[in-house]
Symmetry: C2
Subunit: 193 residues, 2 copies
């Protein structure tokens, strides 16, 4: 061992790796898993396709690296219970406007089983954990999390993927005003209130 346990020796190829990842995110987000080709990604990153294979193994490995995704949910226990809906939708919009990773994941999850699995894990686990954390009935926490995921993913799907005109036109603040009460009821309300 040259240093300690070679903790963070910067490799010369880090720039290339990053360029590949950025190009991959762009392509996956814009075209989905199957239309985004390794050749096109490599061309965007100005390197040879074989480098992609060397660094990420295969196309699936590349996607796994490019679609690394964390909802970064805030601590909901610190939020006044009446504002949970607004805090959540505001967070999601903040998190997603300008980060195409979610678009990549959404497009890919529609056709790629592995990506769908990852999406299931992310949303089921992370949202359920956040919802369960502030003391709702654990039995209904999963259901509430599912409904929140359905509404937020529907928003993302119509705004970023299908680009339904009214959903694209609305400002984040307008969306928040409409959707916050929905999430609030899914989180703390009762069905058919």
């Amino acid at each position: 061992m040259t240093a300690a346990t070679e903790p963070a020796r910067p490799r010369r190829s880090d720039a290339t790796r990053a360029a590949i990842l950025q190009a991959a995110r762009d392509r996956f987000a814009a075209e989905g898993y199957e239309r985004a080709t390794i050749r096109a990604i490599a061309a965007d990153a100005r390197i040879d396709p074989s480098m992609v294979m060397r660094y990420y193994g295969n196309k699936e490995g590349l996607f796994a690296a490019a679609a690394e995704f964390d909802l970064r949910l805030p601590d909901l226990t610190a939020v006044p219970p009446g504002q949970l809906g607004e805090v959540l939708i505001r967070h999601f919009l903040d998190r997603w406007e300008g980060d195409e990773t979610l678009a990549a994941l959404l497009r890919a999850a529609s056709t790629n089983p592995g990506a769908a699995d990852r999406m299931r894990t992310i949303f089921a686990d992370q949202i359920t954990a956040a919802v369960a954390a502030f003391g709702t009935d654990p039995a209904t926490a999963a259901r509430r999390a599912g409904l929140v995921a359905a509404q937020t993913l529907g928003l993302a799907f119509t705004r970023y993927i299908v680009q339904l005109p009214p959903m694209v036109t609305m400002t984040p603040e307008e969306l928040i005003a409409w959707v916050a009460p929905t999430l609030q009821r899914y989180l703390t309300g009762l069905p058919e209130n």
Copy 2:
């Protein structure tokens, strides 16, 4: 002309055409546009791939025929205004459980521009028309239709495509109980009610 203007002479190939269309819907719904291959569809229909080309021109034409889709929205003017949300979500679930055309359209719209365009048209036009029909402010009708589309498509996406466990487990009646008030507010309520 043998008959009148040859109105409905049944062709011998109608059965084949129908078999192709059914196989196409199955494959497009299960695998999306790019993974569903003409060869596999033809094999399912037990005919030669070239027949698909003869009858539908090319892959896009086949998809267009297979994804012919009508929301078949009921006449909302005949519904008591207070029950609009429930009627709508009940209709959608009825319409979609067991018809895979929507799944095909959803999967394809994620990656295929033509399919996305069709989805935009279907939801923007049909829902906007239905919403505008019962006398809401025309200026907000498009927005309300967009929000309804976002919620219902999010439900479909999480239940039929990603198959989030809680969204798959819930019965239609449970879903109706939760989602009906949401649609009701999107249709007749005010933001941040």
